[in-house]
């Protein structure tokens, strides 16, 4: 082992001292910064990952849309199902409705589902909290939890449904709503999706919107291991120009961009914590250089080169970075592992558990740390700690042995 590495390790972790103050302060500051980044980016990534799962669970990974309506959807479904990488396809109709229950109106989004092919693409059944998806027919609907709560609807209730088509009826004609039984209440776990959505059969949706045999779009499930962007490109190759396939990334590009921006901003802001830790390490190393001026002179007198002396102090910055990052990762992942226990403990103390679920959309705190983010955190912490060691290292290297020895 080169002497400068040996001495750097010995100065960071001196023999016979259980708690080297300088090392402990520097390492703890870097650890806290890294742990904070791990926890915040892990949770932020978890939100994004959960939203992705919800989107693909309810919409599939690819959506086929047309400028107008898609006619002959069975033909299109048959064609796209044969494309490599497509595991399933299901048509849908969507639009805005008015639903009324006991004179209480609501304006949910409608999703018309083709029950015959639905299971091959989306697993909506697992989100039905009360009732069942199997009970859904052309005279019944399933409401999202938020919509059912807003209307005060229970299972088995009859609701009136009005569509924009009814506004086009001739003057003097009485508008009769479509009546449907509520056979299920569905909760996906995302406030936006759960707040106001009505699920019905595709045929009912086609009737309500006067679509005939046409549909608004087709959702596709991608085979495991296939990339949705590549599959979407292959599907587009066989579709006419006015019908296009979009991956969920394309469809939710703006939303995903905002999520990514939020995460990047969090990373940028929190990196300042690591930067402050690096400055602390640098100032402590500068104090160390001043304290060890005569020893630096001695090393020069013993034959050490300036480069080696610089490396000795620079490696102490690296050492603080390596140990601090290691401990920070351990601390960060431990906090992430027990995140829900911690949140429960905090909300138990403050009494805000329901508010948390209502405003933050998730009852459990999600977690997903991408390898890219993890690598960025580790590299940032190591680079900043190394940079923190460079100024003290240069200062030490510039000391002339004879002047350093005279410093007493």
């Amino acid at each position: 082992m080169p002497w400068y590495l040996y001495l750097a390790i010995k100065q960071l972790f001196p023999t016979g001292r259980r708690f080297p103050f300088f090392t402990a302060i520097s390492v703890v500051s870097v650890s806290l910064g890294v742990a904070l980044l791990i926890v915040v980016l892990g949770v932020m990534g978890g939100f994004g990952y959960q939203i992705r799962a919800m989107i693909t669970d309810t919409e599939g990974e690819i959506q086929i849309k047309s400028r107008g309506l898609i006619s002959d959807y069975p033909g299109v479904v048959k064609k796209v199902a044969a494309v490599p990488g497509v595991a399933g396809a299901t048509p849908y109709a969507a639009g805005m409705l008015m639903v009324q229950y006991q004179n209480k109106p609501a304006f949910p989004q409608m999703r018309g589902l083709d029950l015959g092919s639905l299971d091959r693409v989306v697993s909506l059944g697992k989100f039905v909290r009360i009732g069942s998806l199997e009970a859904l027919d052309d005279d019944s609907v399933i409401l999202s939890g938020g919509l059912a709560d807003a209307l005060g609807v229970r299972l088995g209730a009859m609701v009136d449904i009005y569509t924009p088509l009814m506004l086009a009826k001739k003057d003097g004609e009485i508008i009769l709503p479509r009546t449907a039984r509520v056979v299920g209440i569905l909760e996906i776990g995302h406030q936006q999706l759960d707040s106001s959505t009505l699920y019905c059969t595709l045929r009912m949706a086609q009737d309500l919107y006067g679509l005939g045999r046409d549909v608004h779009g087709i959702n596709l499930r991608v085979a495991p291991g296939a990339r949705e962007d590549e599959v979407a490109a292959r599907v587009n190759a066989i579709l006419p120009d006015d019908v296009r396939a979009f991956s969920w990334r394309d469809s939710f590009a703006d939303f995903l961009w905002v999520l990514q921006l939020e995460k990047n901003m969090m990373m940028f802001v929190l990196l300042f914590v690591v930067l402050v830790a690096a400055f602390l390490t640098m100032s402590l190393l500068l104090v160390l250089v001043l304290k060890k001026t005569r020893e630096i002179g001695l090393l020069g007198a013993l034959g050490a080169s300036r480069r080696q002396i610089a490396l000795c102090f620079c490696l102490q910055g690296v050492g603080v970075g390596v140990v601090g990052t290691g401990l920070g990762l351990a601390l960060g992942f431990t906090v992430l592992h027990f995140r829900n226990d911690l949140v429960r403990a905090i909300t138990h103390l403050t009494g805000g558990q329901e508010l948390l679920a209502r405003f933050y959309q998730f009852s459990e705190l999600p977690e997903h740390l991408e390898n890219r983010d993890l690598a960025l955190i580790v590299v940032s912490a190591l680079v900043l700690s190394t940079l923190a060691g460079i100024i003290p290292a240069v200062m030490a290297a510039r000391l002339k042995p004879v002047e350093a020895l005279r410093s007493e």
Binding site: L7, K10, Q11, R294, G300, K400, P401
Partner: protein, 218 residues
């Protein structure tokens, strides 16, 4: 001439103190022959330590020439192998125990293996610290620290040892013991010694005594 291991001629060194120029060394000439021991005495501020730093290649003279074994190369790399230095203030590294402090002289110039460890232990045994090898400097007395510094100076089997007031921080009895040790070790190993001291008794123990006065050898 082949026995000359250090040759200094016309060494001049001047320091600036504010606007005042202080000429500390005014043309010092010195020739050191292999195996001899030389003492350099002088009053405080006479330039003894400055001369020793110049002879060790730690500082550059304003004028004059210095050669080690006929070579003008007095750089850090050569210094590590050519000479050992003993300072008044010991300058042991506080994070390292006695053995590792001695080995540090070797680490800087190359590999430390079992042979080097054995030599360091032998040197520490020779200076009477066989039982204190794993002690940190803070656990050693002043005399013991200086003996570690002596062992460190001898670690690389140097041709020349420069000792700068090695007894300055020690009491009379301990100081005499350290000087005796240094002289006997140099005699045993055939190492040349240049000892800077203000103590006449210690200086008298060396084969050649020089006195530095007004920047020159008297």
């Amino acid at each position: 001439m082949s026995n000359t291991i250090l040759h200094a001629s016309g060494i001049v060194k001047t320091f600036l103190s504010g606007d005042r120029r202080i000429e500390v060394l005014r043309g010092v000439n010195l020739e050191v022959v292999a195996g001899e021991s030389i003492s350099i005495r002088g009053e405080s501020g006479s330039g003894k330590s400055t001369l020793l730093h110049l002879l060790a290649g730690l500082d550059a003279p304003d004028a004059g020439a210095l050669t080690w074994e006929g070579s003008p190369d007095t750089g850090a790399k050569r210094r590590a192998a050519f000479l050992g230095i003993v300072f008044q203030s010991f300058y042991l590294i506080p994070e390292l125990d006695a053995l590792q402090n001695v080995l540090m002289a070797r680490r800087i110039v190359g590999h430390v293996g079992s042979a080097e460890r054995a030599r360091a232990k032998e040197l520490l045994t020779r200076v009477g610290l066989a039982e204190r090898m794993d002690h940190l400097p803070t656990q050693l007395s002043g005399g013991e620290r200086q003996r570690v510094a002596v062992a460190r100076a001898l670690m690389n089997s140097p041709r020349l040892i420069l000792a700068d007031e090695p007894t300055g921080n020690l009491d009379e009895h301990t100081g005499s013991a350290v000087i005796e040790l240094l002289l006997s070790l140099c005699r045993e190993t055939g190492t040349t010694l240049v000892l800077v001291t203000h103590n006449a008794d210690h200086a008298a123990k060396c084969g050649r005594q020089l006195v530095l006065r007004e920047g020159r050898f008297a």
